[in-house]
Symmetry: C3
Subunit: 359 residues, 3 copies
């Protein structure tokens, strides 16, 4: 356990450039989320919509947006710290109470295997149990953790972190400042077979994978190599845990895919595409720039630029909402229809009787 840090609120305010409403003489020893923050804590309210719970604040000090000034309770245990960006200020505060650990400086561990034909940049740590094969190149300032495998002729940029047990197959290209979380597998063979002579015959997967700069790849996520060309994860994209990217997919820049998303082969995306958890996308589709797909949806058609889709099958949001509403009301509608059938039958019978009388 790290030593306990205590800070006067006035000191904190001065460091954060915050305006104080209340006494700066209180001392705080921890930074915690709103619901957990008690008498010795500093906390925060990130935005206007969370201000409604401000009366319940139990913390000694609370970072709030400047715009909140008129709405702060005059009484209560809390000193208010007005800042432009409460989340940002809170992150700085957290760092103050829990300073980031220093990077280890172990260099190339003698318990790692590094091929004599591999190149390792300066200021890079290769932990025990890592395995770096012939022709691989790792840039400077990288952390290659325990049990990582880097295949033949891979190229890793500068300032990358590969967490424990990451596996890169041969020929994977990774840009600068990429983080890959534990257990992720990049460059395994795509799932391609031909059905011949009553069995599935493997189609060789001779492509590679390209993970561009500033990407973050989640734990146990898998990204398959292209069959002929590359599978591409565009610059700045973030993939959560247990995501599957099929062979030949090409993602644009700044895509965000939540956990357990699955893309079949040869899907392409524009920039700023957002997929919520457990979404599945069929092969060879295109998701346009700025498009969004809701959780658990099944996408089986191209998604136009800027459109939000939801559902299984996925439909444009408004439409999907109407379908979902109508679906939930189906049992009621079924009764209405049965009732109508009876009423129409009654009318028909009456009309028939009438016309017989008349006849």
């Amino acid at each position: 356990m790290p030593p306990i840090v205590s800070v006067r609120v006035a000191q904190l305010a001065s460091e954060l450039g915050a305006r104080i409403l209340g006494s700066g003489e209180v001392t705080v020893t921890a930074a915690l989320p709103f619901d957990r923050a008690g008498a010795n804590c500093v906390t925060f309210i990130g935005d206007a919509k969370h201000l409604r719970k401000i009366g319940e604040c139990q913390a000694a000090a609370c970072l709030v947006p400047e715009s909140a000034q008129g709405q702060l309770p005059a009484e209560g245990p809390t000193v208010w710290l007005l800042v432009a960006d409460p989340l940002d200020a809170f992150i700085k505060t957290l760092r103050r109470f829990r300073p980031e650990r220093q990077r280890a400086a172990i260099g190339v561990s003698p318990q790692a295997y590094v091929s004599p034909k591999a190149k390792i940049g300066p200021n890079t740590n290769i932990y025990p149990g890592a395995f770096i094969d012939d022709g691989a190149e790792v840039g400077s300032g990288c952390d290659i953790h325990s049990g990582v495998t880097i295949g033949r002729d891979c190229q890793i940029g500068n300032d990358c972190t590969l967490h424990p047990r990451v596996t890169l197959y041969d020929d994977v290209w990774v840009g600068d400042r990429v983080t890959i979380h534990a257990g992720a597998v990049i460059g395994a063979d795509g799932f391609g077979y031909r059905f011949r002579n009553h069995r599935f015959e493997k189609i060789p997967q001779m492509g590679h994978v390209r993970v561009e700069q500033d990407c973050e790849i989640g734990a146990n996520t898998t990204i398959d190599r292209g069959m002929i060309g590359p599978t591409i994860i565009g610059e700045g994209s973030k993939l959560d845990n247990l995501v599957m990217i099929g062979h030949n997919c090409e993602l644009g820049k700044h895509n965000v895919f939540v956990s357990q998303v699955g893309l079949a082969g040869s899907v392409t995306t524009g920039d700023y595409v957002r997929l919520a958890g457990q979404v599945g996308v069929a092969d060879h589709l295109h998701l346009g720039t700025g498009s969004t797909v809701g959780a658990k949806s099944g996408v089986h058609k191209n998604v136009p630029e800027g459109e939000t889709q939801v559902g299984y099958p996925a439909l444009p949001e408004q439409e999907a909402f109407k379908v979902a509403m109508a679906t939930v009301k189906l049992p009621e509608m079924r009764k209405t229809v049965r009732d109508l059938v009876q009423r129409v039958e009654a009318i028909e019978a009456a009309t028939l009787a009438e016309s017989r009388k008349a006849g």
Copy 2:
């Protein structure tokens, strides 16, 4: 292959405290499930509802519940063993034919890396290729298998098993008698970004993970660290393979999540919550104590205590069942509605003609 064990049924009955119906002089050499058990085997029927297939029994001996006595066929190849708890008795029988392997006693392997600043309890095995970082503490009687990584300042209780390639990031806390299966990743960064300057900026994930006593975590499951505080897996909870637990989630005690379940961030649960396979739960929801969610459901609202929900979107079971029934019958209902439209049009036309005549 282990040597074949043969046992007289009378001997088995005596060990299990079973009452024999038939001859105890038969010898059995294997314990197999009902459908696979032949002439030299002992098998079992776990409960009353499986008794209907009792006439098909081919085994030499069969463990049955005491309550079954009146329903046992008088003829046939099988000796009946009446016990209070047939599954329990069968597990003991299995152990007799296939004795559990002894724990290895390898201590701390010289092919593992254990930081001089880590502490390892007595009677704990650290296998080759494990990596234990500064400040980590492992209790007594643990098996830390090959390729496991235990990050800085982690604390592992007593009698824990970490199967091969388990990765614990820094600051993970694990209670006594916890089993974590191969490839699980505990404590990777939560998936938190802010969108600023046209890119996704990482929000530091400074929390930790707490896995309480008697939990079992499945293979390749991932549990992210909290952003500020902990992600908690409550005492006695069981997570299957490939499950995803997002950051800040707090699970109560004795939860059971089947494989490929995904919880978004900040979900909380009561005790005894059961989620079937591939369920997804949206962020910040609460699943009440004793609630259950059916396979592949998508939960987007709190689930009340004790309630069972199913579907996408998830609804209370009865309601979901009616919606599903009505959905399957939709094409039929569509025809009925079309037919009604025509009939109503016909009536309207007739009425109009009538009123014209009358007019």
Copy 3:
């Protein structure tokens, strides 16, 4: 980067037994997919249905099916190579430009741990960081990559590849020519508990796993061991990444499961069963030989031989299609029904007024 290879098209044609339409004197230096192939490239069109885009071909040479002869544009930059099987010919061409890497010949690495009670066949590579436990047997011609764990008494056939970080628990049986991709976990405990004394008590999982010859298992896929007997992956079956196979499942031959599929316990399948991505199958079901299930479907009943099912819940394809169509049109139908209700009310009111008048 490998050296650039250049080949005359006439030479290529002769090697492939292709008939040339155009000049064989052109030189090509790369083989790329149709959409990416430019002036110095050879590409291919696999089958008749892709011939419609043939006019857009920018490649120097294009492999086409012999049947396409009448449909080839006379003008344009492309020389046509007619072959019986364009994909096959293209794969050979790819190999010519990017020769396969030679297998390493490292034998048993001194940085691996191999139990003195294990047996390793001739011409097998055991990479650094691999761990092979007591009683395990590995055949000849295998590649056991870095960080692989092979448990006690496992048996691996000949010519198998276990990619980095594969974990086999004790007693796993693997046939000849099996490929297992990185991070896959075979033989972890099945998910079986009894609820007793207010907690979930583990049911010991004493079975094993059998992966038959010519199977391929995807990255980070998990296959649990049987409770009593085996979990079986039948000959020639192919499982993609992040697939979950529960305990006691028995797959027939030549099954193909796309990524993120999940089978609950005790599912059995015939031969040639195909499951698309993210399908879930409930426990104890049987999927008949030649059956197919569409992406993201939830299967909760047996699937008959040869049948294709889709949906959540899964239905026979034609039925599912009608339900999906009707579901999408639900909001419209809801309007129709409301409208009908009003019209019928109007008719009823009119009829009532009429009968009063008459009365």
